[in-house]
C-alpha cells in the first residue's frame, strides 16, 4: 500500500487562558489529547463528536492553524510542525479548511471574484487571461453563476456562501480538504446539496477529505471510516467495512441512539437501529 498523504501523530493541544490577574494563567483542560489519525490519497475520513470533544481543535492542528503542543503532522513525508515562516506558508495551500459558519467565513468587504483571484494570483496558479478562465471554472465547479464575481458575500445565502468557501479552497489547488461541520449551520434541504457537492468534488479531483460533524449517521454516510471523539480524545475508530451497529464504545452507542431518526419512529421504537 502506498504511503498515506497525511499522518497526524499524538497531537495534544491546551489553549492558554490568559487574562488572569497579574498575568497568572489559570490551568486549562487540554482541548486535544494524544490524537493520531492518518488519511490516504482520495480517502474520506469522518470525525464525530459533540461540542467540546476536540474535533475542531484536531482540524486546526492538522491544518497548522493552531500549533499543537506536542505531536507531529507529517504531510507527504514532511513534518509540518517543524516548519515556520515562508516554508510553512508555501505548504499551507495544500491543506484547505471549510469552516462551519458560512457567515463568518468570507471577508465582507471583498467581491467574490476578488476573493478567488487573490488566491490564484498570490500562488501564481494562472496568469493573464487564464485567471478569469480559472475563476469561471471554479464557480462552475461549485454550481454558482459567473455573475457572482461582482457581488459581495452579503448577497448570498448560507448554502451559497459555503459553495463560495469551497471554491476559494479549490482555488489554492489543495490535495486535502478539512470540512469542519460544513453543513451544520445550513437548512436541511440545503445540507444535502452541499454534502453532494463535496462528494462530487472529491471524486473529480481526487481530494482527501476529513469530514467533521456531530451527526454520526450523516458523517458515516459520507465517510466509510469514522473516528469518534470525546473530551479531547479519540475513543473509537469505526473501520471502513464495519457497520455503526457494531460500534464497541459505549459513547458511540449513546450517540447513535440519541439522534432522532424518522426510520425509527415508524416502528414506534426509541432506538435508531435501522
Amino acid at each position: 500500500m502506498s504511503e498515506p498523504l497525511l499522518v497526524a501523530e499524538n497531537l495534544t493541544k491546551t489553549y492558554q487562558r490568559s487574562g488572569g490577574a497579574f498575568g497568572f494563567h489559570r490551568p486549562a483542560n487540554p482541548a486535544l489529547i494524544d490524537a493520531s489519525l492518518q488519511i490516504n490519497r482520495a480517502e474520506i475520513v469522518g470525525v464525530v463528536g459533540e461540542s467540546g470533544s476536540g474535533k475542531t481543535t484536531l482540524a486546526r492542528c492538522i491544518a497548522l492553524l493552531d500549533r499543537p503542543d506536542t505531536g507531529r503532522v507529517i504531510f507527504k513525508g514532511e513534518d509540518l510542525t517543524k516548519l515556520s515562516g515562508a516554508d510553512l506558508r508555501a505548504r499551507r495551500r495544500y491543506i484547505q479548511t471549510i469552516f462551519q459558519d458560512p457567515y463568518a467565513s468570507l471577508n465582507p468587504r471583498m467581491r467574490i471574484g476578488d476573493v478567488l483571484e487573490e488566491v490564484i494570483r498570490y500562488h501564481r496558479l494562472a496568469t493573464g487571461p487564464g485567471i478569469a478562465a480559472r475563476v469561471k471554472q471554479l464557480l462552475d465547479q461549485v454550481g454558482l453563476p459567473l455573475s457572482a464575481v461582482s457581488s459581495y458575500p452579503a448577497a448570498f445565502s448560507g448554502g451559497q456562501r459555503q459553495r463560495i468557501c469551497i471554491a476559494r479552497a479549490l482555488a489554492a489547488e489543495p490535495e486535502m480538504l478539512i470540512a469542519d461541520e460544513p453543513v451544520s449551520a445550513l437548512d436541511v434541504s440545503i445540507q444535502a446539496q452541499v454534502v453532494n457537492l463535496l462528494l462530487d468534488l472529491k471524486e473529480q479531483l481526487g481530494l482527501s477529505v476529513i469530514f467533521i460533524g456531530h451527526d454520526l449517521q450523516l458523517v458515516n454516510f459520507i465517510a466509510p471510516r469514522v473516528i469518534i471523539m470525546l473530551k479531547g480524545r479519540i475513543v473509537e475508530t469505526i473501520p471502513e467495512n464495519k457497520s455503526l451497529l457494531d460500534a464497541e464504545h459505549e459513547y458511540t452507542r449513546e450517540l447513535l441512539e440519541s439522534v432522532p431518526r424518522l426510520e425509527s419512529l415508524r416502528d414506534g421504537g426509541k432506538g435508531t437501529r435501522s
Binding site: 506558508r89 479548511t97 469552516f99 471577508n107 487573490e118
Partner: protein
C-alpha cells in the same frame, strides 16, 4: 451580526451624543452633519470672497460696534470684523481637528493592528502603555506636554499625537483580537498569505469602522482642545484668528459687548455638533453592517 465593539468605544466627549434631527420617521442627523460641515469648510476656503475686511488689520475708529449690516457679527476691541475673523479662524480650527486626528489615527491604528495580530510581549507592553496613558486626564496631559515643549501649533500637534494614539491603538487592537479568530482570517492564513497581506487586506478594512466613528468625536474634541490651549496662550498666537483665542481676547467685554465672545463660541458649538452628527450617523451605519 451587529458590531458590539461600537458600544464600548471610549467616549471622552459626549455633549451631543444622541442628538437627532428628525422629520417624520426619517432621521436626517447624518445629512445635516455632512451639509453643515461642508458649509463650514467652504466658508473657510472662500473666506476672502465672503467678506471685504482683513482679519488682522486694526481699525480703532470702529472698535466694539454691535452687529449691523456692515458688520453682521459686530467688531472687536481692535475694530476687526468678528464675522471675518470667525471665517478665517475656521481655517486654523479645521486644520487643528484634521491634523489632531490624522496623526494619532494612523500611528495608533498601525500599532494597535500589529499588537493585536502578533500578541506576545510587545502586545503586553503596548497594553500597559495604553492603560497608563488612559489613566491620566487627557487635557492635563496635553497641557503638561505643551507647557514643556513650549507654545505653538506644531507642539500642540505633537502633544495630541503623543496622547491620542493610544485610544486608536486600543480600538484597533481590540478589533484585531476579535477578527484574528474569525474564519475568513483563518482561511487567509491557511491559503498561505503573508502576515502583512492578512493584516492590511483582511483585518484592517473590517476593523477600522469603530476607529473612524471615534475619530469624528475626537475631531470635535481636538477643535475644542485647540481653542482651550489658545485660550490659555499655549496654542495659536495673536493676532492669528482662532476661535479659542478670540474668546480669550474678548473675555473682558463679555458682559458689555457679548457679540465679541458669542460668535466664536457658537462657531465651536456648531462645528462640534456637525461632526458629532456625522459620527453618530457613521456609527449607526457601521452597526447595521453585516460583518
Amino acid at each position: 451580526m451587529t458590531n458590539p465593539s461600537l458600544d464600548s468605544l471610549p467616549r471622552r466627549w459626549s455633549l451631543f451624543r444622541g442628538v437627532q434631527i428628525r422629520l417624520g420617521s426619517h432621521n436626517y442627523s447624518f445629512a445635516v452633519g455632512i451639509v453643515g460641515f461642508s458649509l463650514i469648510v467652504l466658508a473657510a476656503i472662500f473666506a476672502p470672497l465672503l467678506t471685504p475686511y482683513d482679519p488682522v488689520a486694526l481699525d480703532f475708529a470702529s472698535a466694539l460696534q454691535p452687529p449691523s449690516w456692515a458688520h453682521p457679527f459686530g467688531t472687536d476691541n481692535l475694530g476687526r470684523d468678528v464675522l471675518t475673523r470667525v471665517l478665517y479662524a475656521a481655517r486654523i480650527d479645521l486644520q487643528i481637528g484634521a491634523i489632531g486626528v490624522a496623526f494619532p489615527f494612523v500611528i495608533g491604528a498601525v500599532i494597535g493592528l500589529f499588537a493585536g495580530y502578533f500578541g506576545g510581549w510587545a502586545d503586553a507592553l503596548i497594553g500597559r502603555l495604553i492603560d497608563i496613558v488612559i489613566a491620566f486626564p487627557f487635557l492635563v496631559l496635553v497641557i503638561a506636554i505643551v507647557a514643556m515643549l513650549g507654545p505653538g501649533l506644531v507642539n500642540l500637534y505633537i502633544a495630541v499625537t503623543l496622547v491620542s494614539w493610544v485610544l486608536y491603538a486600543r480600538i484597533l487592537r481590540g478589533e484585531t483580537l476579535a477578527l484574528k479568530r474569525r474564519e475568513y482570517v483563518m482561511a487567509a492564513t491557511s491559503l498561505g498569505f503573508p502576515h502583512l497581506k492578512i493584516m492590511f487586506r483582511h483585518i484592517l478594512p473590517n476593523a477600522i469602522a469603530p476607529a473612524i466613528v471615534f475619530a469624528m468625536s475626537d475631531y470635535a474634541l481636538d477643535v475644542q482642545l485647540g481653542a482651550t490651549l489658545s485660550f490659555f496662550g499655549l496654542g495659536v498666537q495673536p493676532p492669528t484668528p482662532e476661535w479659542g483665542l478670540m474668546i480669550a481676547e474678548a473675555r473682558n467685554f463679555m458682559l458689555t459687548e457679548p457679540w465679541v465672545i458669542l460668535f466664536p463660541g457658537l462657531a465651536i458649538v456648531v462645528l462640534s455638533l456637525c461632526v458629532s452628527l456625522i459620527g453618530d450617523g457613521l456609527a449607526d451605519r457601521a452597526r447595521g453592517l453585516h460583518v
